[in-house]
Subunit: 358 residues, 2 copies
């Protein structure tokens, strides 16, 4: 059976002041009326029924997750006792799924990304799911780059086995590359065989546990004792111990970069990881002056601005390239080129005992 | 006896969103803890005792005025039934003062200006008061220009009778000039005999009424019947009729530009009419990066900004030359070069049935 596992444990600070420790990015409606998490689940419609969709998040967000996803059975929200990056999160989900379905195939999805073309997304996933049935295969999705982006990791694939008759196909992965500098990003873009690392994975639950056993034994050993406890009174304690014993490591670094049989399916379905307010601006509908205005905003002689209001009237006069985000207790006014620095603000607030705003 | 008459009827909209119809500029504390009106009264200390200070304002602001000026006898706040510009306001005050003191000399002051050097201000006023005792004399204060300002009217004086031994003296006024364009303003500045029109006047109450009789008979006729009603049960009705019958006209245009014996005392006591948020920025204390921050504000990579907070945390990232004014129900983000346009915002709000914000 096919399952989706949505990873919703992020505590991203680049969407301050809308994102807070108590309300990270995935729970925000930065586009339209629904949140990024809700959109992520909705995109499964037609491919995976809700009862086969799972969300893994820190247990402090479990209630909020259930509230945002009423279609999901409550038991499908898996609470992590501590945040340990993606490898433990995926191990937990794999153990949980294997306990109910030894034949489980997992679609692992970040909760806070944007995808425009859902039909193509499904087509890509179907190709990935098929390839994932191959013994030992780990499959990821790579986004065909549209510009020399320095904010993403890259995946180089091997075009040798290309079948020119297929629109969508899986390629053998040559290497994973860290976020490049601009010159390298341009080279990647021009090469034709580099893709953006989307952080989406498709594999069988048994395969990923096998591969963890091989490449990340510490994490595997931590989670192996959880399997017999699933569904028993000992599950919660076993889970807590598994997370405590597990290293803090990403699945990319811990498994993907080390495994032998890794495939990537190139895609161009209008993807963004919505990394900061600038990305929200880029992805928002705009008026004739390039302004993206949400809620109660009036602009005079202003252009290329993003306003995320909060009920109060926001008036811009003579402003260009400015991001304004209003909340009940804090207001951000940021140049559109400086939105990456917003996380520094959050660090500053932490360092200056202003945690009420974090 | 010497009296001060503070004109506090303005409904200036250039300080939106802090200024509202219910709370015009003079009632705001744009500098420090006290309001412009409170500062105006405080500047009389040592020159005119509170019982001789009067404030004329629209009757809708009378209560607010009394609340801000507890040292003032309640009866010294004169409420105008309708706003009719400065000539009726001054006629009302003159009639009122003459009824209690036939020898009254009035210092007429706008309620919403800034003066840095109060000692020099008093010295200038003393010279003006002395000159105002001359029969038929109307005296005004002119500010020595420091730059080619196009936002002020100008006064040209006649330096012929200059006494080189006097630091402060009154000169005969040649002409009043409207707000000039930049080229003309430069010429005015270089001429040495043009001053900024401060809107401050010093005259005897009987003299200004005589001059109104001569140059503005409609206004004089409207207010003459008020004189016998002062202090009687008929005063309120007579006042209402006087304002109703009076033309809507400024004392500058109605009397000063037409009268024969007009003097100006040049001064340089650090004056500003605090015309818009840019002026507030210019006049505020600033940090090393030229930021003037009031209330709870944090700035990163930002310079030459003005933030008037409202209790909420305001964070600026990567901003230059920006004015941010926060209030409970509305927020302004304005380029420092566009603060004059703020009044257009208020017009827009009027025109679009958004009067709740006006």
């Amino acid at each position: 059976m096919i399952y989706s596992v949505i990873m919703a444990g992020g505590i991203g600070s680049r969407f301050w002041p809308r994102s807070r420790k108590a309300r990270p990015k995935q729970f925000l409606n930065v586009f339209g009326e629904t949140t990024l998490l809700q959109n992520t689940l909705a995109r499964m419609q037609g491919l995976v029924p809700p009862e086969n969709c799972f969300v893994v998040t820190h247990e402090r967000y479990a209630e909020q997750t259930r509230a945002q996803l009423p279609a999901l059975p409550a038991g499908n929200v898996l609470g992590e006792p501590i945040s340990r990056n993606t490898a433990p999160c995926i191990a937990y989900a794999a153990v949980k799924l294997l306990a109910q379905d030894p034949d489980a195939t997992m679609i692992v999805l970040p909760a806070d990304h944007l995808i425009r073309d859902v039909a193509q997304f499904h087509d890509v996933l179907r190709v990935a799911i098929e390839r994932a049935q191959e013994p030992g295969a780990l499959v990821t999705i790579g986004i065909k780059p549209t510009h020399p982006e320095t904010g993403y990791g890259y995946i180089q694939f091997d075009p040798a086995d290309e079948d020119p008759d297929l629109d969508i196909q899986a390629y053998w992965v040559r290497t994973f590359a860290e976020k490049p500098n601009t010159a390298t990003a341009r080279r990647f873009l021009n090469s034709g065989d580099f893709l953006w690392n989307s952080g989406m994975f498709i594999w069988r639950a048994d395969t990923i546990l096998d591969q963890m056993h091989k490449h990340l034994p510490d994490a595997y050993e931590a989670f192996a004792p959880l399997e017999p406890a699933i569904g028993t009174d000992a599950e919660a304690a076993a889970l807590r111990k598994a997370y405590h014993d597990s290293p803090r490591i990403s699945i990319d670094y811990g498994v993907m970069e080390r495994a032998d049989k890794v495939y990537v399916v190139p895609a161009s379905f209008g993807w963004s990881d919505v990394g900061d307010w600038r990305a929200v601006y880029d992805l928002s509908d705009k008026d004739d002056h390039g302004n993206a205005l949400k809620n109660h905003a009036i602009v005079h002689d202003s252009s290329q601005c993003l306003v995320h209001g909060n009920g109060r009237l926001v008036v811009l006069v003579g402003m260009q390239d400015t991001v304004v985000v209003d909340t009940d207790d804090a207001l951000l006014v940021c140049h559109r080129d400086n939105t990456q620095q917003v996380k520094n603000v959050v660090e500053y607030l932490h360092a200056h005992q202003l945690d009420e705003y974090v």
